[in-house]
């Protein structure tokens, strides 16, 4: 047993516990509260949800971090965009969630990224027509979620239409989102975060500018 552990790198060996970012004080209640906001965010796209203030690793929004704490565990491979992939974040997620960090976006059930990643949304798992649920859920860190409203959303979860202003998305995004919607029932689902703010954009939402 001991010999085995020594012969292969164990999860704890690379973990730096010094300065580890704290997780939830009360994992049961706080996970439920964050999940309910994520559920509302994805079932009512474009509504701004907020999570309470807490610690978060550097470069990571509080809302992104709390989503990870609430939803990730050993069953959920996570892809982190290289610019966000700090030791502080990886250590915190491995300690609190025990999730596997994967190198390929298409292997990931969840992805944590900024909006300026290379390639487009089709590099993530899209699910299949038989199993559209097997697609990546993206947590995308943006500058602001209450900027000047320049997008009009419509679709399930929206009574008529809803105006939103998401700042920090480059010019590729409208086309990427419309391609994503066209792939229905396949496609990825997005949770945008800024600070403690959280907004959902599932694959069913139509975006018009």
């Amino acid at each position: 047993m001991t010999t085995n552990n020594e012969s292969r790198p164990s999860v704890t060996s690379a973990l730096s516990l010094a300065g580890l970012c704290a997780g939830f004080d009360d994992p049961v209640q706080q996970s439920q509260q964050v999940f309910r906001r994520a559920l509302t965010a994805l079932s009512e796209p474009g509504t701004l949800q907020t999570v309470p203030v807490s610690d978060a690793p550097e470069r990571i929004n509080i809302a992104s971090y709390q989503l990870c704490l609430a939803l990730l565990d050993a069953e959920t491979p996570l892809w982190i965009a290289p610019p966000l992939r700090t030791d502080a974040l990886v250590s915190a997620l491995r300690f609190h969630c025990g999730c596997r960090i994967v190198d390929q976006p298409e292997q990931a059930e969840f992805a944590l990224t900024s909006p300026d990643f290379d390639d487009d949304l089709s590099q993530f798992a899209q699910g299949s027509h038989e199993y559209p649920d097997r697609s990546t859920t993206l947590i995308v860190q943006v500058e602001s979620l209450d900027a000047t409203a320049n997008w009009t959303l419509s679709g399930p979860g929206i009574d008529g239409m809803r105006k939103v202003g998401i700042a920090g998305l480059d010019a590729r995004w409208p086309a990427m989102l419309s391609d994503n919607r066209r792939r229905f029932p396949c496609g990825v689902d997005l949770l945008f975060t800024a600070g403690t703010g959280l907004m959902g954009l599932p694959r069913t939402t139509r975006v018009e500018i």
Partner: protein
Amino acid sequence: MTTASLNQHTDTRADNTGYNFAYLDEQTKRMIRRCLLKAVAVPGYQVPFGGREMPLPYGWGTGGMQVTATVIGSDDALKVIDQGADDTTNAVSIRRFFARTAGVVTTESTSEASVIQTRHRIPETPLSSGQILVYQVPIPEPLRFIEPRETETRKMHALQEYGVMHVKLYEDIARFGHIATTYAYPVKVNGHYVMDPSPIPKFDNPKMHGSPALQLFGAGREKRIYAIPPFTRVESLDFEDHPFEIQGWDQTCEFCGSDHSFLDEVVTDDEGGRIFICSDTDYCNQRLNTGASKEAV
């Protein structure tokens, strides 16, 4: 570190039942939560989930209970109905279960509840934004009685090959002159997936369309979860010359005189005596409290 986190877990327990908050362990809740997020993202699609054994038999709402246990928080108010009634065995025991394991407030009032678990009815009082309606589902696959193979029904949903469902409804018309399906009447969600609305009477189908409340469906034995987000298009399948219609009654409720709610027929003696009463007990009581009566109509 270990002692501290153990103490925190003790603090979050509702009482000394020895169970985690709302019975399910956190690993299971996270798994179901991830399924729920995918379910609202693909409205009407049945997401497979690792259904757990619950401390009551399949058929008593194990799927609905797992969904409720996963979404409910300590600030929620829970209502549970069984065929519209708050006071029948299934409703009472599930309500007590969550009062005990989660310590949540329970209510019989539709408007005061934030989470409503239901067996086979949608309340008569219109639901509002922010409420969650959790359905107990026995057979989630609407095509199952037509095509028993799961691999095939998956393909049929993927290709939207729903002709057989229309044939089934047409056979009703050929035999009876009208569509004789009265409950679990198939619906199409957001123009894509055909979905089983659970065995609610077709009287309730129109309430699903554009509802401001979030609707979640849990099937425990079949291990499927599906959802309808608020303000989503839900159409009952029909034909141009045989449009969808809901049931109506010549009678009114014996207690409150309602002529627009779903009525249950109750046999009162062995000489053919029968009365009709509202199936939604909370709605009937509300009307009685505001002075409505059979005589007043």
